[in-house]
Each structure stands twice: as C-alpha cells, then as structure tokens.
C-alpha cells in the first residue's frame, strides 16, 4: 500500500483500486459555485496581445477541489484565460493584463508575487503531450528536483505515476524515454509530472485534443479520480467532455470584435439542462461553434 505524500492535506489516498468514474450526475440539486470555497477569484480580467484584445471584463470564482470546464468556440479566449491562471502569458512580451486574479486571496501579479513560486502550486497539462526527451523517471523527477524536494524521490515518482494511472504500464521501464510512450500514455506522463510537485491546482488546456477516443476516456476517468483532491480547470471544445467531467462550466464567446467575454458560468448540470442565456443554449445544442 502506497501512502500518498499528501501530509499537507492530512489525508491518505489508497492507490490500488481505481474507482468507477462518476460520469452521471446525482439526483441532488447541483452545487452552486457561490456556496463553495474558491481557489481563484477572477475580477474584471481583460487581456491584450499587443493591440489585440483577447478577453474583456471576466469576473468569476473558481471553486476549490472541483472541476471547472471552460468551453466556447475557437478564438474565444479559453486558452488565454487558463494561461492567465499560472501566468504563462507573462512569457509573451506583448501580453498585457488588467483586472486581478486572486489565488487563495492573493493577487497573483501583485507586489511580492513570484511566477515561479506560483507555478509550483498550479500545475499545467498542455494540448499536445510534451514530455521531456528524457527517461520516464527523470520526466517526473525534474519538478521535485528543481523545487528542492528532499524526501524519497523514487517513492514520490511512483506515487505520481500511480495517481496518473500510468504506473502499471511503465514500472518496468522507468529508464526508457518518455517519448517512446503512446500519445495517451505521454499525456498521463505529463499529468504525473505535474502531480509530482504536489500542486493544488491542475490546469488542463484541451488535454485530449491530440488523443484517440480510448486514451481520451482514460484521461477523463483520471480527471474524475483526481477531482476531489485538486482544483481542476479544463479547457475543452468538446461539450460532451465538459458535461462528463466537470462540476462547473464557464461559457466564453467572442462577438463581432473577436474579444472573448463571459456569457454564463454555473453548475455544469444547470448550464447544460437549463441555460440562462440563449447564446449558451444555441452553442450547447450545436447551432453554432
């Protein structure tokens, strides 16, 4: 029995059995984002790349230890929004941001904040699997190493790989290249790599768009498994995926000027069954996008 190095949250996670994903919503009324503790509070967020505005006036709270999906047609700013959360946009020289993003109450771009420190707590999984051209072990161990992890590295790597439901497939070949794995395995390796630094949030930017349906299903299963321990934000243009894996859904849309705005945010079940905005209804019923 492996005990997850999860002392911070003071709870042990049995790693052996993979519970059946809860793909069907329960009968209880849906939780509302406002009644939950938030991990992110986004206030009047507007962003620009050079002179081109990408997002305008977004305000929403992202609940802690839940899955929040960001949906919307191409070019509506989904990726921009998720990349604001771990300050990956700061790498783009022409990027500019107004408004605030609070992470556990602290402005992530405020004075004294540090993108490097922030990103340790906010893991990210990218659209295309991007393992390092190194061994599977080193892929997972890199994050703990640079962040000064001083415990049992092998155990940490094993735990991360187990959490990402990859351990059984790779335990005999930890020394071989991460790039020798299949696409779906690579993506789970990237998830393991993100989990290895014991983050609090997991950002996923269309994590399944480069995968086949079976690999996609496994990742979705994994998201459901991880959902109660991590705050997960997932960008997807697959509405079925959003309805399957997420607790809450944000619908973004860009109008004539091609600037992304928030149309609707709420419990996924409500948004997909009784959308408040007619544009949401039009989008989820497939009338555009």
């Amino acid at each position: 029995m492996v005990i997850a190095p999860d002392v911070r949250r003071g709870r042990h996670t049995p790693q052996v059995t993979i519970p059946v994903p809860q793909l069907v919503a329960s009968e209880r009324p849906a939780e509302q984002p406002t009644t939950l503790e938030q991990v992110f509070r986004i206030e009047e967020l507007s962003t620009w790349y050079g002179a081109t505005q990408a997002l305008r006036g977004l305000t929403l709270d992202i609940p802690r230890n839940r899955v929040t999906a960001i949906i919307g047609p191409s070019g509506c700013g989904k990726s921009t929004l998720i990349r604001c959360l771990n300050r990956m946009n700061d790498l783009i020289p022409s990027f500019r941001q107004e408004g605030r993003i609070l992470y556990h109450g602290d402005d992530i771009r405020g004075p004294g904040s540090d993108a490097v420190a922030l990103r340790r707590h906010i893991g990210m999984v990218f659209q295309k699997p991007n393992p390092f051209p190194k061994s599977i072990f080193d892929n997972v161990a890199f994050g703990p190493r640079v962040n000064g992890f001083s415990g049992d590295l092998r155990m940490l790597v094993e735990t991360a790989l187990r959490r990402a439901a990859l351990w059984d497939e790779v335990k005999d070949k930890l020394g071989s290249s991460g790039l020798a794995l299949s696409g779906g395995q690579q993506q789970r390796l990237c998830i393991a790599r993100a989990l290895a630094v014991e983050p609090d949030v997991l950002l996923m930017d269309e994590p399944c768009s480069a995968l086949d349906p079976i690999a996609t299903y496994r990742i979705e299963e994994l998201i459901t498994d991880l959902a109660r321990e991590y705050s997960i934000v997932i960008v997807t243009h697959n509405m079925q995926q959003a309805s399957r894996v997420s607790d809450f859904t944000t619908f973004l849309l860009s109008g004539e000027e091609r600037i992304g705005e928030l149309v609707e945010f709420g419990a996924t079940r409500d948004l997909f069954t009784t959308p408040k905005d007619e544009r949401t209804e039009a989008y989820i019923t497939g009338r555009f996008g």
């Binding site: 020289p93 490097v116 420190a117 990218f126 991007n130 051209p133 890199f142 640079v146 993100a194």
Partner: protein, 297 residues
C-alpha cells in the same frame, strides 16, 4: 443538378516529351555542377598528396624547421596549431553559447536586439585580416600580450565567435517551445529551463557550429601573419605568452621560398594540416553524436 462539362480535349496540350526533356536537362546540369566541385577537390587533393606524401615521415613530424628542406619538419607549427585550436575552443565556445542564450532566451525583441543581431551577422563576413589588425591593436599592443600564443588564440577566437553564436542561436531556436513551457509550468526558473532542457536539446546543433568554427580557425593564416612573428620558430611554446607559429604560416613561408624542395614539404605540411583538421572534427562529431543519443528523442 448539372455538372460542369469536362474540358474539351483540344484545349489541352500536355507536351509531355518537351517537359520530360527539360527535366532531364536540368538533372544533367545538377550532375555537372556537382561533378565540377568534386573533381576540382579531387585534383587539388591528389596533386598535394602526390607532391607531399614522399616527404611524410616520423622525422618530418618531429623536427623543427631548418634552412635545409630535407631536414625541416612541422613539429613547432603542428603543436602551435593544436594549442591555438584549444584556446579558440575554450574561449569561443562558452562565450558564443552564452551570447546565443542571451539573445534567444532573455533579450526582449526590439531595435537594440535587431542591431546586435545584424552586427553579428555582418561580423561573420568581415575579412579575417581585419581581425588580425584588431588582435594586433588590442591583444598584442593594448593588453601587451606581445606576439604570443594567447594573443593569436584570442584573435582567432574573436574571429570565429560570430559563427559559433549564429549556429548556437539556430540550434536554440529549433528547440520546441513546448519543452520550455513544460519546464516553466513545473515551477522551474528560466535558467533551470535553459540548463536542463534547452541546452541539452540544442547541444548537437551547437557542436555542429563548433566544428565549422574550428575548421575555420585552423585554416586561418591572414590574421596570424600580423600577430605571430613569422620568424624561425625552432621550439615549442612553453606557455600562453610564448611566441608560436602555426601550420598555415609554415606552409606560407615554405611556399614563398624559391627552392622546389621547400614547395614539396609545403605540400606535406598541408597533408598534416588536413589530418589534424579531420581528427579534431572527428572528435567533435563523436561528442555530438553522443549528446544526440543521451537526449532520448
């Protein structure tokens, strides 16, 4: 629903024969161009080998130059060339890579960056004699290194620096940004990202640039003519501040003598220079291939 009628056959003239003839003609042209290059190289090498090979002997490799062609050797020049190559690598490799990293990973795009970039490009094309004058003014005179091995080595290092930088930049640029993002998203700093991921991935390309730079460095005579004292060097350099000579200079000296015998040993010296060049490149290629394998693409 009506479909647009197919084109009438009379409107098409495929001229297949003419087109395939011109294709063959072009192929022939390419063959000819390649053959001219290879042939002239073969002729040059064969001519040198025929002239130079008879004088090649252990004595030739281990003797100092002499007034008599038969007793002359390339020891001082060969060792000088090796030392020079070492200094060039030690100086230009780290400087060049550091510059490339700065320009690619840190420098903000803008006017200043563009000016620097253009200038590096231009510097790669500056005639080498200009570098000799720079070396003479800066290293020999201003820094009073005299006509030493160090002054020569630094001059050639500056000469090949643009080549190293440009190649390293291209190699660094070729590293996919997804790799950088993966590392940064884990909470690695920019430097950790460069050191652990960008540089290892770029190393093979960087080493290719070094091979090119080294070949250039070893073959240069012009700048060293200004810097070394071309005199009769019948000793090995003792330290960095000793005077020295190199193979291209030795060849230049022997070729400019009137006696036929010296022309022959100049050809032998060219063969030694070629062997040295191939050996150094082989080492660099070996290192490059190893670094390619260690990155598990």
């Amino acid at each position: 629903m009506t479909v647009a009628p197919l084109a009438v056959a009379a409107r098409w003239r495929p001229r297949l024969a003419t087109r395939s003839r011109s294709g063959r003609a072009f192929l022939l042209l390419c063959y000819a161009a390649t053959a001219i290059g290879i042939l002239s190289l073969v002729v040059l090498l064969a001519d040198t080998a025929i002239k130079g090979a008879p004088q090649l002997s252990w004595e030739f490799l281990t003797s100092y130059p002499s007034r008599f062609a038969a007793r002359s050797g390339v020891l001082a020049a060969a060792v000088g060339t090796l030392y020079l190559a070492l200094i060039v690598i030690v100086v230009s490799f780290p400087l060049g890579i550091a510059t490339a990293i700065y320009l690619e990973e840190y420098a903000k795009p803008g006017l200043l960056n563009r000016i620097v970039q253009t200038n590096i490009g231009n510097l790669a094309g500056v005639p080498s004699i200009i570098y000799g004058m720079l070396g003479l003014a800066v290293f020999v005179r201003a820094l009073s290194l005299q006509r030493s091995l160090l002054a020569g080595g630094l001059t050639i290092a500056v000469l090949v620096l643009p080549i190293v930088i440009i190649n390293a930049q291209e190699a660094i640029r070729a590293v996919p940004s997804s790799l950088r993002h993966a590392s940064l998203a884990l909470g690695a700093t920019r430097w950790e990202t460069v050191w652990h991921h960008v540089l290892p991935a770029a190393l093979p390309g960087v080493l290719t640039g070094t091979i090119l730079a080294l070949s250039r460095a070893i073959g240069e005579a012009a700048p060293i003519i200004l810097i070394s004292s071309i005199a009769f060097i019948a000793f090995l350099p003792d330290g960095l501040l000793d005077s020295f000579t190199i193979l291209p200079i030795q060849i230049f000296i022997w070729v400019s003598k009137p006696q036929e015998a010296f022309h022959a040993i100049a050809a032998s010296a060219i063969l030694v220079l070629l062997a040295l060049l191939l050996t150094l490149n082989a080492i660099a290629i070996f290192v490059r291939d190893r670094s390619r394998r260690s990155a598990q693409w």
